[in-house]
Amino acid sequence: MTDPIFIERLPAAGDEWIDRDQRLCFSFEGRCHRAYAGDTVSSALWGNGVRLLGRSFKYHRPRGVYSMCGHDANVMLEDGETPNIRGDTTLVEDGMELTAVNTVGSLRHDLAGLNDRMSGFLPVGFYYKAFHTPSWMFPNWERMIRGIAGLGKVNPAAEWKPSPKGYDACDVLIVGGGPSGMAAALAAGRAGGRVVLVEDTRCLGGSLCYAGATAPESAATVNSMRDELEKLENVEVRLNTSVRGCYSENWLAFIGPGGLTKMRATAVVVATGAYEQPAVFRHNDLPGVMLGTAAQRLVHLYRVKPMQRALVLVGNDYGYGVALDLKAAGVEIAAVADFRETIGKGELVHDVKTAGIEILAGQGVYEARPAGGLVGIKGARVCPVNSAGTGLSTSATNVNCDGIVMATGWAPAGDLIGQAGGRLDYVPEAAQFRPGELPPGMFAAGRVNGVFGVDARLEDGEHAGGQAAAFAAGKEVPARRRPADEITAPSYPYPIIKHPKGKAFVDFDEDVQVKDIVNAVKEGYDSVELVKRYATVGMGPSQGKISNLNSSRVLATATGQAVGAVGYTTFRPFTRPTTIGELAGRRFHPDRRTPIHSRHQAAGAVFMHAGAWLRPEYYGPLVRHQAIVREVQAVRRRAGVIDVGTLGKIDVCGADAAEFLERMYTGRFSDLKLGKCRYALMCDESGVVADDGMSARLGDDRFYVTTTSSGSAAIVREMKRWAIIWGLEVTIIDHTGQFGALNLAGPESRRILGRLTDLDIGADSFEYLGFRQAVVAGVNCRLMRVGFVGELGYELHVPAQHAAVLWDAVVEAGQPEEIMPFGVEAQRLLRMEKGHQIIGQDTDALTTPLEAGLAWAVKMAKPFFIGQRSLKIIAPRPNVRSLAGFVMHDSTVMPAECHLVVDGDEICGRVTSIARSPTLGQVIGMAYMRPDQTIPGTVIDICVEGRLVQAEVVKLPFYDPSNERQKS
């Protein structure tokens, strides 16, 4: 391997972000580079003289450093595990092996670079126009486009990394740790209450960390404020933490070293600063052209000399400070080109003049002159400009330089304000947007607020911090006021120069040029939201942070409107690209377990998820099918026991309890005698089957009702609501989690139960559909004689803490009969043999009781029940479909649930339940079909993966039609 590339940096400065004692090695595109700890990938590469850092998305043009603060969407890397690593903000780690994303071949010899020369044939909206016809070609186009689209490659084999998620709350949250944010934190912190300050870089200070000549003495200011903050115990500072979104009522999400935090703040101070905006001219995207703050970051934070000879293009006095910084770093300043005809009279301008730097007033850059292969520039053509963005090419003069540094204006980092429902207003005299009306509890300070001078930002921050603290404490909030500010117009209104040959980029993420926006307007996409979607401006990874303002400016000119009238696109979370992994957190799916769970585990149960519950599907160690057959046969021949503690269990009590059930359920309950229970079917207001269960009478004014396992929460809820609406004297008590329950079933079940209770359970004294309260195995128990699985059976309900004791006692007592626990699958099979429907499996969101064969449970003669009025409309009409049973004579091809019942071209219904019945020795099932097909003996066609198989309709139930067994 060759020696690592390394070029020594500028002499050390006190506030640099690199640690010169720690040297790291990493590789980029197969070449080794040396870096200092604290370097980002981009700073290390740029420092080592690498100018080609990435390729653009569409035209694959060479790109380099642009913002150095997270908006360099064209410098994305991958390491084989993580795609789309941002070069400008990601720290170098020793041993990293990085390649650029979005290249065909290699970064240097990117075959897709041909797109750039073809760009004349790739106009705005090209994909929309070109690839939808002919329609039969679309699958091919789609495959091709999908191959081109997207950036880094996801490695599905990458190791899973946990990403913690946490919740927090504070009185005042301050977003941004620059001077205004720190001042706000100090003010809010001194007022008391819990204050949290989040800063997305590695240290406090914000723009003062790299301000250089634009804010001398700033290091001392930052240091003293940091010391003061440390003294305040109620202020927490979170570094390397970026806020990703602001949601309703100051609910903010941010991601930092500890993962995702969701913070509820009573008040928020947005001190997020401003995004410096580029100027637009031909070849303004090539490596060597960069923002003023990017050059300052390279110089002050990483001590990298950004170029040898620079043209500084400015639109405000700040840019003069940038020129001074570059000069101090040893960069030769070719000239300062100032868009303004009348240049400022400030100190920085004076210092530039004193330094003997040439100032070209009223001039802009007409074009950058590319160096070989577009990987860099060798000069600029500078020309006089007018405010309409017309450059006079005839009078353009050459300036030799290898870098163009742009300091022409700002856009507020107002994402969070917009997301929270606040507004940004365009202020023409400052040529930029500023926060207008803010939502309650949100305050803005510093550059996002349009305040640029350091002293003014400190004052603004202190004021906003005080406002936020007052709001959080419920005190009167002082009125908003704007500090006096020396830099009144830091943005040049129209830093855009058209070029007949194009390649003047507004958006770098998506390679959108000035002419694309103009053409979009010509085609009728003349609003800011339409242009965004049609020209894809602002739709790339940096979400328009350095393109939206210029896009609005171009659009305003093209449509003859003011920028303020054009406005800006809607701010939506996330403010920074956020991975799904960061949002996912750890897997957290709480399971509900019944009180008998440990017994199932001990018995070798294989569990399944049933809604929120974990239930035994079957009991091992046999394989699934054999285990289910064994359990079914035990219930049919001897005895079995199943945990049914997941059923909804509700006490309905009060003087109107019977009347209430009459209205809630389709059946009759006022005549239900003490000691009896009855099937209870519930419809919704449209007459569709909603739930079912059993209802037992405990007393004159008291019933015990069960619901399906999945329906319990919703049924309790609906019962409570109807009780309020009807004004009935009834109380609904949800015992679902408080009671355990089991079902003892099989011909030997009476004998087994008899060993555990003194209750007279003789066939005549505890009859089918009887209900008793008695002591079983020493536990107070509610007993229902029910027959869901079609055998003699008892449902035993006990307080949850005694359920396992009862289970043990039943299993123990059943030893002579070889009682067997059975799971959900055996129960499903047993009940189907008996022709019993499961609500939600054999019914759907449109099934009426009339279709499902449940008309017998509906008492239409009652004065009222939920769904009755709708059923009165439905009942006279013929059914569209009916549920019926079928058997398969040839069971080599097995249909599955939801396979369709068809008749020629007609879809008649679907299979709802199907299984191989060990009891009957054949495949049985239930299906919806046309009512005329339900006549026993009819042969129906079921479509199984394109093949038709035949089934014969039979009368339900399949098993024990005379009910002798369950009533025995």
Partner: protein, 83 residues
Amino acid sequence: MKIMTCPVNGPRPLQEFVYGGDLTEMPCPDQATDEQWAAYVFERDGAPGLHKEWWYHAPSGVWFIAERDTGTDEICRTYLYND
């Protein structure tokens, strides 16, 4: 996440609440025509504006009415059904 004020439990995060549909009074089943009944069961006004809605505070089992502007998602008032 929004905060909603339960008339019994005070302000709580929206996560704790279950939406129960628009508040629509049932017409008299015996007097309503089929069309009127179908309108009651199926037709709801979805136009943005002030709606009266059923909401349920799940941890405590409290049903109440919320007056909510579905255009601005502002919860203007919450109260118990009988208030």
